[in-house]
Symmetry: D2
Subunit: 172 residues, 4 copies
């Protein structure tokens, strides 16, 4: 079971489209996955579910999408030169002791030319700090607006790139 996380709370995000494509690719390879979009976090979670305090509903959510899965695919858009703040706020709300030893793949996207390179670097360091293994091959989709349409990722080269990485990540 792999958990795919779309790491922004922006509505109708490009990240969610890429995450959905990842789920399709994994499904075609016979791998079950869950997809979690950070737009489904409680609106006030930074204040209501952080620093040791959590609602039961929040516990259920984090158990399903974070604590139970052994592997993650994080789809990370570049916001202001790094990952979305909401992603790190979400990490800050988790029980880090339950994360050690899991494995993660990272996919970056950006409007600009670097494909979220720095967002991936920063988040890799955070995951390593939490003792989560990070797969070295991190696709970077730059100029993302040209790779998607209203509903999905349509660029063939990008889709092949994701297929290759996800196929290898299954074995990681």
């Amino acid at each position: 079971m792999i958990s795919i996380v779309s790491t922004t709370n922006r509505i109708n995000s490009n990240s969610l489209k890429v995450a959905t494509k990842c789920q399709e690719i994994l499904f075609a390879k016979g791998i079950e996955s869950e997809l979690f979009s950070l737009e489904n976090l409680p609106a006030d979670f930074i204040f209501s579910c952080s620093y040791g305090v959590k609602t039961d509903e929040y516990e259920t959510l984090t158990r399903k999408y974070i604590e139970n899965p052994k592997k993650f695919v994080f789809v990370i858009p570049e916001y202001n030169g790094s990952f979305p703040g909401v992603l790190k706020a979400f990490v800050d709300s988790l029980d880090f002791l339950k994360l050690s030893g899991k494995k993660a793949a990272l996919i970056g996207l950006s409007s600009g030319h670097a494909g979220g390179l720095r967002a991936l670097d920063h988040f890799t360091e955070i995951l390593h700090h939490l003792k989560i293994e990070v797969y070295s091959d991190k696709p970077k989709l730059s100029g993302i607006e040209k790779l998607i349409d209203d509903t999905q990722l349509i660029d063939d080269k990008s889709i092949e790139r994701l297929k290759k990485m996800l196929g290898n990540f299954i074995e990681f």
Copy 2:
């Protein structure tokens, strides 16, 4: 006018104690400052005041503490190997075009031994991306629990360190 930002929303945080000391130090040097703690953000700001949408109250707040000041002091605790997610979420809610050319000093704190080094590195890269100049001298207060009491920063060496940096930052 310098804006001092305590970059966590944790209640009674060490960061706020350090930020308060910075305000005292600046006051003693004849420099006026405002202190803003991220605990005073609207609880749902990530969902209600991001990606181009803002309430009037939020506009007033960001104008006072972020858009009007020319200089910032960011007090940044290390959470999970980087800055608090709430800080980046706050940055993501701002109008980045209004930030260019401002100047920032960074102070790190951590329970561990590195004093928030990586949090400062990550945030420096974000500020540079926003074309905010970052002063090179960034005090790192490691083992922060031993440097504070219930209400304030009490460690003399740390206070001297902050005095030296802030004195130079005024001229930066």
Copy 3:
């Protein structure tokens, strides 16, 4: 007096072409500069001129290009996902106490799409460690092979980008 450093020892490097263009741009603005290419370092400097030991010739070289100037322009190509090793080896051979308070502008170049973003991030952190101020605006020339010919930088947009940054850096 500004020192422009081409930070690779590769012969006939793209970096040297970009560095030469920077010197022309500064000259047109009435600013004198020296250009130093790391290809002119002694071939065995890592072993003969590091860790406190230096030849007289090396002292003369580092005094002229590093210790005397107050400002630097570093032209940095991406090698293996970061700056060239020879650049950091050169930094390791310097007397860091003589560097504090200087100011640097950084220009990145790469064959790939990120324009040396990570090389610039890494080197910024090293310069900040040495208490050298780093200008926030760091041009990134990606796809460098298409921007140069056999002898010089020819891409108009890139040249305008450098002119804008260098014009502002003079005032930094």
Copy 4:
């Protein structure tokens, strides 16, 4: 077969003492290893063996210590806020196509308090760029002078830390 690399060319380095201890620990666990110190690189390798040109002797050296092993332990001291330049210069002299898929453990050391944290971050990003997997647990030995004597690493806590990591790395 694991290759342990002491990543400085400084004579009688602390890194070499830590690397030697790693070899002892692996030996006690029944794991064969080779130890390579960068002080044994040709003094002019940056100029004579980089950018596609190599001597036969250099080919033999890199085949033995880098291309043949499947796993590496890099012992990395902090110099000027990052890894030693000679390490990156060594990486720049390698054929990166022969590195993909290998696995690396990183150990940092520093005189200061951060234990080479940033050196490890920077080098992790370079290894990931080369598609080398990096183990998330990276021991950081700060205040290294107090942990060693004239000939070896003597601090019990540090030795236990290395034993734990290396024991797990064997299974990585």
